[in-house]
Amino acid sequence: MKKFLMPALAMAVALTAGSVAAKADVLDKVKEKGVLVVGVKTDYKPFGFRSPDGSIIGIEPELAADVAKRLKVKLELVPVISSNRMEFLKQGKIDLMIATMSDKPERREQVQFIEPLYYSDAVNILMSKKVKVTAWKQLKDAPICGSTGTFYNKPVESEYGAKIVAFDGTEKPLAALKQGNCVGFLYDQSLVQAKLTEPEWSADYAMPLPSIMETPWAMAVAKGEDRFAKFMSDVTKDWMKSGAIVALEKKYGIAPTAYSQRMHAQFK
């Protein structure tokens, strides 16, 4: 019995190993299957969110659709969250990740980033329209609401002299801003812009200052997928050249970021 079992087991192991070896080139796998599986966010408007019919829409799903079109394959979107997106990529459950992932050294060790980085978040202020400012220096002694624990509260206070009133989360500082406890809300630019797509905020608030402290976002593929990474790198450059990302930002109602505009100018 054992004599029979051992070869069978060895064969099973060889089979699994074979499938791992075959997985080495994801680009071939995608073309063979005719499906590109992309991991995107579903709770990050306007980058990846749900429409009431359940489908996933937004800037990142549109980028994913463009990649699938270039590969002449169908697109399958898989919802990911921050805690599982890199795991899914390593497992091979998704072929490509476009999921608002900011650039961190420890992440670069785990997955293959696509250069140039396709997007960048930054820090900005959702400012009351009653306040007329054009430069950060003008914020001296201005009361600004912030969120506790963000890395930019202190630098903004020490460099520009703003008085940060910190609350936890994002809802409390936003409520304080509405009640007039402060003149602006200092936070991630992506959230500030998302708020400005809502009529509730766009009527009395704006984003008059240039963004500071850019934190780029990266698309990623699994480690070792050099051919696919090269392909994606070319696609990204092409997006920057054609201004596709700037166009998508406009389509989804947010002001193009300084990063997207700069990249567009650089590659044009």
């Binding site: 009431p52 969250i81 009529p199």
Partner: protein
């Protein structure tokens, strides 16, 4: 009386909606309008919760029945192994078991050259089936041991084998005794399926968070949307609870 209290709860749910719930203001839909728009998606998510709960319960019950019989087996080795498995899965946090299944199981299997996908929700079913298995095993053991020993002796004197005694005398009486606790367990599993949102399964709670994000994180929508989730689970689980209590009363061991 019970109907009255359920009605009161429904009324309280409606009353907690702010006054502006029924009127649209300035371009954005009213609270009820938003809820109406998202309700089909949220309810499809709830159906997914129910599917996960039913499958986890079915799988867990079959495995648990086998494990439970192992707990009362004459062989001490089998009894000890079953005991260890039962204690392990009964005392592990459900969320940890879920994480374990989610991140340690492959996303697809290769069976004879064919690739069989193994989606996240199936892993969630297995993750929930494990504690169900252990709890069902304990329910089975408790029921078997609650049958008076005199019945075993009577069966033996009629020259029934152990298997015959178990299947023809003991277990038929156990079913009634197990039913209330088993239904109680099902209720718990149904409520626990919302934990799957933590590991990224698109069930009702995940979709609710997505819907809130798509509505631009409006704070006035949070209480009504999560209230709707509570309401759906309540409407499903409450009748099970009532039915369980009735069965308990009917089958009470005097």
């Amino acid at each position: 009386m019970k109907k009255l209290s359920a009605l009161a709860l429904l009324f309280a749910f409606c009353a907690c909606l702010p006054g502006e719930a029924f009127a649209a203001d300035g371009g954005r839909p009213s609270i009820l309008g938003a809820l109406w728009k998202w309700a089909p998606l949220l309810l499809s998510g709830f159906a997914f919760n129910l599917l996960i709960s039913v499958l986890a319960m079915a799988l867990g019950t079959v495995l648990g029945a086998v494990l439970g019989l192992g707990l009362v087996a004459p062989s001490s080795g089998l009894r000890r192994t079953s005991h260890a498995a039962t204690q392990f899965f009964r005392n592990a946090p459900w969320l940890v078991l879920l994480f374990f299944c989610m991140y340690l199981m492959p996303f697809e299997f290769v069976v004879g050259g064919a690739v069989v996908p193994f989606p996240g929700w199936v892993k969630a079913v297995i993750g929930f089936a494990l504690p169900v298995m252990a709890n069902t095993a304990e329910i089975v053991r408790g029921a078997v041991q609650s049958i008076p020993p005199a019945q075993w002796e009577a069966a033996e004197s009629l020259s029934f084998t152990r298997r015959q005694t178990l299947w023809m005398v003991i277990l038929p009486q156990c079913v009634k005794r197990m039913l209330p606790s088993w239904m109680n367990l099902y209720s718990l599993v149904t409520m626990a399926t919302s934990l799957a949102s933590v590991v990224g399964v698109s069930e009702m709670l995940t979709l609710t968070a997505d819907a809130l994000a798509a509505e631009g994180g409006r704070t006035d929508l949070m209480a009504p949307f999560y209230g709707f989730v509570l309401f759906c689970f309540f409407v499903y689980c409450y009748p099970i609870g009532v039915w369980t209590r009735r069965l308990e009363a009917r089958y009470a061991v005097k």
